[in-house]
């Protein structure tokens, strides 16, 4: 299952690393990353594949939220379908 991870918050060292560690610990593969930093604020979207993961979607979501709290950024993961449904015919 493909999903979109969105990260937003004040930029500092180690955000991508921290998120990627949380993903790799749960067996989630990163397919694409897109990020912008505007005046210290980082927004990052990642396309990931959860089919290689052995844990549930809820567990991945919880792990990312925990990583987000530690990094002081907001993180969430949603299935790609919701964005595809809205923006692609």
């Amino acid at each position: 299952m493909r999903a979109i991870v969105t990260v937003a918050g004040k930029d500092h060292v180690g955000i991508i690393a921290g998120i990627c560690i949380a993903l790799s610990e749960n067996g989630v593969n990163v397919l694409d990353i897109n990020q912008t930093v505007m005046q210290e604020f980082l927004t990052m979207n990642m396309l990931v594949d959860t089919s290689t993961s052995t844990v549930s979607f809820a567990d991945i979501s919880a792990a990312l939220e925990k990583a987000g709290r530690e990094l002081a950024v907001s993180v969430r993961i949603q299935r790609e379908d919701i964005f595809e449904a809205m923006h692609r015919i």
Binding site: N45, L47, F57, I77, Q78, D81, I82, F83, A85, H87
Partner: protein, 452 residues
């Protein structure tokens, strides 16, 4: 990959503009539960609802988590109880409402609809018993919703039923007076009721429906409102186009969730109801959309035209986004559940007469309106008759959900709590319609050609 702007737009709609899936409603047929012994029938109903909807709430929550979009309500609708209970040998149908209520609590849903009767042409024994049981049923249950269809374009209007429902609304208000007449917020009187409506309080599982079905209601007045902020001062062509595009996006969410829920629950997908359903929250109001089109206050001259455009554009945009569109689909105008409508009513700009005109072009009818506690049953029946006439002639669903709030007078507020919101008590005409309502009989079905 999706671009950043698209991802941001979707998240923005969810986070700041109150985009949500308003309800996943599972329709369950209770026709197999008929039994002469009312206790056995009630137990069969309870068991069937609980078995069918066992996974509804957990699956809804699972989808919510994976998609990252709130699914505000999970609900159940059942076969009109007057049909399901008719074989039971009892005068009082409250026992069946209580079985529905228990089942709703076991399943974890927040409303269950279908304590209903369809009497547009006349009453069966079960219909009469059900209507007589409504006040007690609504007073002794928490989550049960009731509806009665008293007219249709094909059958005309059953004026005996109209009179009876005027009395029933009053009796329900009286029976629930300790809660401000809350029972009336769970009682809808319809003309041209639809069989696959997922929204409460009017949902029931129609007789043409399958054994079990999933219907989804989407919402998103806030998203439409924000979209219109970007086209200020532009012609209506642009307004209509903007609403259509927004409705399309909202409905695609509904379609996705409906398919997902249907697959996981292994229950056929019925319809997506693409309604703009407001909530009392700031920024989730249909009235504010109408005002964004250029009206100073909702209810002033021009409101009906603005609502007509909105209602039509929502349907046009949504229809292509879903495989099956149904239910009530359009813009709801409940007063107590819409922050902008409450403000307009308090100001005196939005009146009952203007609301009646608006119901000619909105998706349903007079909804969640509080009137003084002294309003008589005849007056309420006459309001129902007017509304049913609009539905009958215009081939559309209309409804009346009105609260004659016990002990309240014009200007007071009635607090319903939660999604039901709070309603300012609105004035009604003092002049009597008693002799009109006393006639009874039926208003014949209308001609469907020579339309002027």
């Amino acid at each position: 990959m999706l671009n950043q702007h698209e991802i941001k737009e979707t998240l923005h709609m969810i986070d700041r503009e109150h985009l949500d899936i308003r309800t996943i409603t599972m329709g369950v047929s209770l026709r197999s539960c008929a039994h002469p012994d009312p206790k056995t029938a009630a137990q069969k109903m309870y068991d069937k609802i609980c078995t069918s909807a066992e996974h509804l709430v957990p699956v809804g929550e699972e989808i919510e988590r994976e998609m990252g979009i709130p699914i505000v309500n999970k609900r159940i609708s059942v076969t009109p109880m007057a049909i399901a209970a008719e074989a039971s040998e009892t005068e009082d149908y409250t026992i069946f409402a209580q079985a529905m209520d228990r089942a709703a609590k076991t399943c974890g849903v927040n409303f269950i609809g279908g304590f209903s009767a369809l009497v547009q042409k006349g009453f069966t024994v079960g219909d009469r018993r059900l209507i007589a049981s409504i006040p007690e049923a609504l007073a002794t249950t928490d989550f049960v919703c009731s509806s009665v269809n008293i007219g249709s374009t094909r059958a005309g209007i059953n004026m005996d039923a109209v009179r009876l429902m005027g009395q029933t609304v009053k009796a329900t208000a009286e029976r629930t007076k300790d809660n401000g007449g809350l029972g009336c917020a769970k009682l809808v009187v319809f003309a041209n009721a639809v069989e696959d409506n997922p929204f409460m309080a009017g949902a029931f599982h129609g007789v043409g429906e399958p054994e079990c079905v999933i219907n989804v209601g989407v919402s998103g007045p806030g998203v439409v409102y924000h979209a219109l902020q970007d086209v200020k001062g532009q012609p209506f062509d642009v307004v209509a186009e903007t609403v259509k595009k927004t409705a399309f996006k909202i409905t695609r969410m509904g379609q996705l969730i409906a398919q997902e829920a249907s697959a996981r629950l292994k229950v056929p997908f019925g319809i997506v109801d693409l309604s703009l359903a407001p909530t009392p929250a700031q920024g989730d109001s249909v009235a504010r959309i109408l005002e964004a089109m250029g009206l100073e206050v909702c209810g002033t001259h021009g409101t009906t035209a603005a609502l007509a455009l909105l209602n039509d554009a929502v349907k046009k945009g949504g229809v292509m986004a879903s495989g099956h569109v149904g239910g009530l689909s359009g813009a709801f105008i409940p007063v107590s559940e819409d922050e902008g409508m409450i403000a307009a009513a308090l100001r005196g700009t939005l009146t009952l007469d203007k609301l009646e005109a608006m119901t000619c072009v909105c998706s349903v009818g007079l909804d969640m309106i509080a009137v003084p506690g002294t309003t008589g049953a005849d007056t309420i029946a006459a309001i129902i008759a007017d509304e049913a006439a609009i539905g009958m002639i215009n081939n559309k669903t209309t409804a009346v959900r009105i609260i004659p709030a016990p002990g309240k007078k014009v200007g007071d507020m009635v607090e319903m709590g939660g999604l039901l919101g709070s309603a300012p008590v609105m004035p009604v005409h003092e002049e009597s319609a008693a002799a009109f309502i006393a006639r009874g009989g039926r208003i014949p079905a209308p001609l469907n050609s020579l339309k002027n």
